[in-house]
């Protein structure tokens, strides 16, 4: 399983927060740095790419992975809450998929910490996401001669659920940051000043550390609830369905996103969310697990004010006393973590899909 915050970790975090009050520099966390290159099989990734953009991977063939992770919108949707499956809405912001293969834990609440294989399965089958019976999906793929060829070429044999769960992660390994000024050493003076604040006075690096600028752990920063989840019944039904499925009690009365509580079922973890990566923020507004902050300026102002209101808020958060200039520098640095948008044919499947399923000729006499 992936990274899990235990009580001990939490205790350590409290100690660290206290210690930070005395020291402007956090030295015990992994430094920011370039992402290591990922190796992947190009033929398998090409198959994964075609699958990723194929609407036939959803129950009613209405949406693809790319519908809510849209390359032209930073591999997310530029709206607070994801669309979800037709017929319902959603209750969280779709995260970008750039660098998703580096993660060790997925979903804002961290409920999958095994592999992207499992994550792909979750997205395809969940009723409020793609609502796909994967047995139907498998037979759809077998009806497409192009897939038959691509699965064979990839060494996967016949199209199957299991191989879809391998091919899409293989493709996702191709979605990595490219030419970010931070990595390329081309940061502006303002961004460089921002980096110093990031590591020092602003303390961002306490959680946003390592090459992803994320510790992969859950923290409560007091982000305000997005009331549209509860005031829009289409969003709310997705939330309730999620809570029912996950076994979250009192789901009809719940007026907040429980976050990491979903994983541990401990009240102390109520309202914690996994630290997101800060890479590619330039394209991925709005921000936070529920899209409540529209701009990076708002995000920085939010932290400068010491985060939001929650009695379980992380002790790492307190007012930062950043000046307007310092806040601008910090935003400049955050933007320097964004590279190319990955919107060309190298990453985006651009050929049309067949309008109808091909007929298997001489059906009565060929093997199924």
């Amino acid at each position: 399983m992936g990274v899990r915050i235990t009580n001990r970790h939490h205790f350590l975090a409290v100690i660290m927060g206290t210690w930070l009050a005395f020291s402007a520099q956090a030295t015990s966390v992994p430094d920011l740095g370039p992402l290591p290159p990922l190796q992947y099989n190009k033929t398998k990734a090409e198959l994964g790419k075609r699958l990723f953009f194929d609407k036939r991977l959803s129950g009613n063939a209405g949406i693809a992975c790319a519908t809510c992770h849209d390359p032209t919108q930073g591999w997310t949707q530029n709206q607070p809450l994801s669309d979800g499956y037709p017929g319902n809405g959603h209750f969280r912001n779709a995260p970008t998929l750039i660098n998703v293969a580096y993660k060790k834990v997925w979903n804002h609440d961290g409920r999958i910490g095994t592999s992207l294989d499992d994550m792909v399965r979750e997205m395809i089958t969940e009723d409020y996401i793609m609502n796909m019976d994967m047995r139907i999906m498998q037979e759809r793929l077998k009806q497409d001669p192009r897939y038959l060829q691509m699965f064979r070429d990839a060494g996967y044999g016949e199209p199957s659920n299991g191989k879809v769960r391998q091919a899409i992660p293989e493709y996702l390994k191709s979605l990595t940051s490219r030419n970010a000024p931070f990595d390329a050493g081309t940061m502006s003076a303002a961004a460089k000043k921002g980096l110093q604040l990031f590591k020092g006075k602003a303390g961002c690096i306490q959680c946003h550390n390592g090459s992803l600028a994320s510790d992969g752990r859950a923290h409560n920063t007091g982000v305000p609830e997005n009331f549209d989840i509860f005031l829009n019944p289409e969003n709310h039904q997705a939330f309730i369905a999620f809570a029912l499925f996950q076994g979250i009690e009192n789901q009809m009365n719940l007026k907040r996103d429980p976050g990491y509580y979903n994983v541990t079922m401990k009240q102390a973890d109520m309202g914690k969310f996994i630290t997101p990566s800060l890479r590619e923020l330039k394209y991925t507004a709005p921000y936070m697990h529920n899209g409540m902050l529209a701009t990076l300026e708002e995000v920085v102002a939010f932290y400068n004010a010491g985060g939001g209101k929650d009695r379980r808020k992380s002790p790492l958060l307190k007012p930062l006393g950043l000046s307007d200039d310092e806040q601008r520098d910090l935003v400049a640095f955050l933007l320097a973590l964004s590279g190319d948008p990955l919107t060309t044919a190298e990453h985006v499947w651009q050929e049309p899909y067949p309008a109808e399923y091909a007929t298997i000729e001489d059906w009565k006499h060929v093997r199924n």
Binding site: E139, Q143, A241, L244
Partner: protein, 399 residues
């Protein structure tokens, strides 16, 4: 008990078993010759009501809404009535049912009218109650494709349903299984008991025309229909392979080919059968016995005036075609028949009916249907938020 006594009982049991076999495998002529008759046609009584789901006006009312509500399906587009359309005989007027968006079904949709009387629902008898049938249909991948969580969540956000459910079932929030109970209660009101045949059997000698009376003679005699289509429902609810050919569309429709393989895969046949089957094995899915390949539960003949096309694979567009099929001994006009000839019922053999006899028989089958049952579709209550902004604000402040 003496040994002789036991022996005698055994002989009696064997005799009964042999008699049973004769009924099951012999022709009507044989059965009738031996004085063993199938149950006669009879007027339809009130539908059986299960003790654990009694009818009530409020329950029927909620069921009526739910039956027409597409929110009881995966993408909120496909409810019961989507494939059981009142204007199409409470079924779907294509060979195979329309299915969930992005799919097509693989069997013909059956009418809801008089479904209350069946003890085996679906063509292969896979559900034994209307409650279970509703559940299976709403969740099946090529039917409603709904999952319990999202459907139950939707019910909670429809205030009229929450209130109705509280009155009927007493729970704070609707449970999906209770929604299925309500749907079943509504369906138990969709019965037709005043057909010409019912009136005739109840003593109105003018209810059937001369033509229909001749058809009745054939039905019960030369044509042998009564062997399976007997009793008040005109169905013995047994399983037979009568030679109906598979869905022709499978040979030329990619979408239908997908569903065919999915059904084999999902219902769990062996790899060999998954690779080689080219027709619906029907009751085999339930029993896993080879001798059940291609067998389907005898459907009622009631309301068939409105439910074309006919048979599990919807291969016959008219009652005339159905009668011609039987007259030919279970072979369609184009020569097609079941892919499982080894299990075909010996009851099915060429009947030698004249054209006039076939017309009489069709006329009599039409007497199993009364007026078309049409109802006004209810206006569905909308969703409403569970909370007010002020309540959410207060919860936010209390965090």
């Amino acid at each position: 008990m003496s040994a002789t006594n036991s022996f005698c009982k055994m002989i009696l049991l064997l005799t009964a078993a042999i008699a049973g076999l004769i009924i099951a495998t012999g022709s009507a002529a044989q059965g009738i010759a031996k004085g063993i008759s199938p149950p006669p046609l009879a007027p339809l009584g009130p539908p059986p009501i299960p003790a654990d789901n009694p009818q009530s006006p409020a329950k029927i009312e909620w069921g009526r809404y739910l039956f027409f509500d597409p929110r009881l399906g995966g993408d909120a587009s496909t409810g019961c009535s989507t494939c059981h359309e009142p204007d199409q005989g409470w079924s779907w007027a294509e060979d195979i049912s329309r299915g969930y968006p992005g799919t097509v079904h693989w069997r013909g949709s059956q009418t809801i009218i008089n479904s209350a009387y069946y003890s085996k629902l679906f063509w292969a008898g896979s559900s034994t109650s209307l409650e279970a049938q509703a559940r299976a249909a709403s969740k099946g991948g090529v039917a409603g494709n709904g999952e319990t969580d999202i459907m139950e969540a939707r019910l909670a956000l429809i205030p009229e349903y929450v209130a109705l459910n509280r009155t009927i079932f007493g729970t704070e929030w609707p449970l999906l299984r209770d929604a299925y109970r309500a749907i079943a209660a509504f369906e138990r009101t969709l019965v037709q008991r005043d057909t010409p045949l019912d009136r005739y059997l109840l003593g109105d000698r003018t209810a059937l025309s001369a033509e229909q009376l001749r058809g009745k003679q054939l039905f019960e005699g030369k044509a042998g229909c009564i062997q399976c289509h007997n009793g008040p429902l005109a169905s013995d609810e047994n399983f037979y392979n009568i030679g109906v050919p598979g869905v022709k569309r499978w040979e030329r429709d990619g979408l239908a080919q997908i569903t065919f393989r999915f059904e084999l895969y999902a219902k769990g046949v062996s790899e060999t059968l998954y690779r080689t089957l080219k027709d619906d094995p029907g009751a085999y899915f339930r029993s896993r016995n080879r001798w059940d390949m291609g067998k389907f539960r005898t459907p009622s003949l009631r309301y068939t005036l409105y439910t074309a096309p006919y048979m599990h694979s919807g291969q016959f567009d008219t009652l005339e075609e159905v009668v011609d099929f039987y007259n030919a001994g279970g072979v369609a006009a184009d020569g097609r028949t079941t892919a499982f000839p080894e299990t075909k019922s010996p009851l099915i053999r060429p009947l030698g009916l004249t054209e006039l006899e076939r017309e009489d028989l069709v006329a009599f089958i039409e007497a199993f249907s009364g007026e078309e049952i049409l109802i006004e579709k209810p206006e569905l209550p909308p969703y409403a938020p569970l909370f007010t902004r002020a309540q959410l604000q207060a919860a936010q402040e209390a965090k």
